[in-house]
């Protein structure tokens, strides 16, 4: 039962609930204007700016026919006057039927869910969780592959700090995947996630060079390799071009292979890839709207 639940971490949802959201997202894609929430008010509280995520959520809310209140810039709110998160959430939860929130501090959404009278949807809490991203990634994988089971998934780039890859790994673990982790030594997949996979008996390999795995992947999940993540800048200069995907590298990859990226990209996917039919990242972003419609509609119990 998703109705009335907060979505703070991806593991708040069971396998069945994840599948239900994916199914509903497909339904909203086929028929995007379903004003099921005409009598609802939804708060969109962005304690730090994230235009991309905010627009995606607010589009979803509008397509569902609900009205939006909130803020996109914390400087315009009383939080800058020292109001606590607790007070803001208690107040807003008396006005709205559901709260979508993004906050720079980790754990803010879980704490808000304990204070709020209405469900919270976490749109990112610092480096911790961003579950709607994971669900839209899974919807994208399902759409491009036809199913979620037994897929070979290559994750490339910053696997140490990239919260999207960690959440995706956890959620995909329900579906018997094979993982190929491709990262520079400084940004390897943290041990806790490898231990998690070991305990679940899920296969993975670690690589430094993506050429070694491109031919095997059904999904190529690219992430940004940011300079500021490196303690050793010489190492950054040495590896930075290793984690850039060019169109020529896609020769010999599987026909069903699709390239995903949480966006925004900087230079890790060369623009010559954009016109390749295997490039899926812009469509993936569009899928975010349908996924968020599915999340909100099921939490408010209209689907």
């Amino acid at each position: 039962m998703i109705k009335g639940k907060s979505l703070v971490s991806i593991d708040d949802f069971s396998k069945e609930e994840i599948l239900r959201i994916i199914e509903l997202a497909a339904d909203f894609e086929a028929n995007p204007n379903q004003p099921l929430l005409r009598d609802k008010v939804i708060a969109s509280l962005f304690f730090e700016p994230s235009t991309r995520t905010r627009l995606s959520f607010e589009t979803a809310i509008n397509r569902l026919g609900a009205r939006v209140i909130g803020f996109s810039d914390v400087n315009a709110t009383s939080t800058t006057k020292g109001e606590t998160l607790k007070d803001t959430i208690i107040m807003v939860s008396n006005y709205a039927d559901l709260i979508v929130m993004r906050h720079p501090l980790e754990g803010a959404a879980r704490y808000a869910s304990e204070q709020s009278r209405v469900p919270i949807v976490n749109a990112g809490d610092g480096a911790n969780q961003h579950p709607s991203q994971t669900l839209l990634d899974m919807f994208s994988i399902k759409k491009t592959q036809g199913h979620l089971d037994n897929l070979e998934i290559a994750m490339v780039g910053d696997l140490k700090y990239g919260r999207t890859v960690h959440s995706l790994l956890m959620a995909m673990s329900y579906f018997n995947p094979k993982f190929y982790f491709v990262a520079p030594d400084e940004l390897k997949m943290p041990q806790e996630y490898k231990t998690f996979l070991d305990e679940k008996g899920i296969y993975y390999e670690e690589h430094r060079d993506m050429q070694e795995v491109l031919g095997k992947a059904d999904i190529l999940y690219m992430t940004r390799v940011q300079k500021e993540r490196f303690s050793d800048l010489i190492e950054y200069e040495r590896v930075k071009n290793t984690y850039v995907l060019h169109n020529a590298m896609l020769e010999g990859t599987k026909d069903n292979m699709r390239i995903l990226h949480p966006l925004p990209r900087v230079n890790e996917i060369s623009t010559d890839v954009d016109s390749n039919p295997k490039a899926y990242y812009f469509k993936q972003a569009e899928n975010g709207v349908y996924t968020r419609m599915a999340i909100i509609a099921s939490i408010l119990g209209v689907k």
Binding site: L85, L105, E106, G107, R110, Y111
Partner: protein, 152 residues
């Protein structure tokens, strides 16, 4: 031998003796049990010789017994602690401490970006591992280890 050590801290008629506390954590134990504000007669000794711990500390609290919940709070800082309940100068019960499955309210999350370090929030951790100690924050989901353990 044990008899001789006991004499370093005066005997009590009724109450609790908490032994085998690591010396460096004596004041943390006192604070976790809320003994600073207690009206009971309390005596303690520290830097006593102990084979196991190097230097150990001992606390005697007169006319006071502790519930398991109270006493398990000290398990994080004194995992080897032994409690003797004393009635009429006799040890009537011996207890050890055990780390609970959830730790609430007295450990700080080591993550500076955790919401609990920015607002007045009672911390909560799931104990992922007791040995070595690993506490997963309910809020930021990061793991605080023994090395970074700060008791408030």
């Amino acid at each position: 031998m044990e008899q001789h050590k006991e004499l370093k801290v005066s005997a009590i008629k009724n109450g609790t003796v908490i032994d085998h506390i690591p010396s460096q954590n004596l004041f943390k134990v006192i604070s976790l049990l809320g003994l600073e504000n207690s009206g009971n007669q309390i005596t303690f000794g520290m830097n006593l010789e102990s084979g196991k711990l190097g230097k150990k500390a001992i606390i005697k609290v007169a006319d006071r017994e502790f519930s398991d919940d109270e006493i398990n709070k000290i398990a994080l800082v004194a995992p080897q602690a032994k409690l003797n309940t004393i009635r009429d100068y006799e040890v009537v019960e011996k207890r050890t401490v055990s780390i609970p499955d959830e730790v609430k309210g007295y450990v700080r999350c080591f993550n500076p970006k955790c919401i609990t370090n920015h607002e007045k929030i009672v911390t909560r951790f799931f104990v992922v591992s007791k040995q070595p100690l690993e506490l997963k924050c309910r809020y930021c989901e990061k793991v605080t280890t023994e090395q970074h353990l700060v008791i408030e």
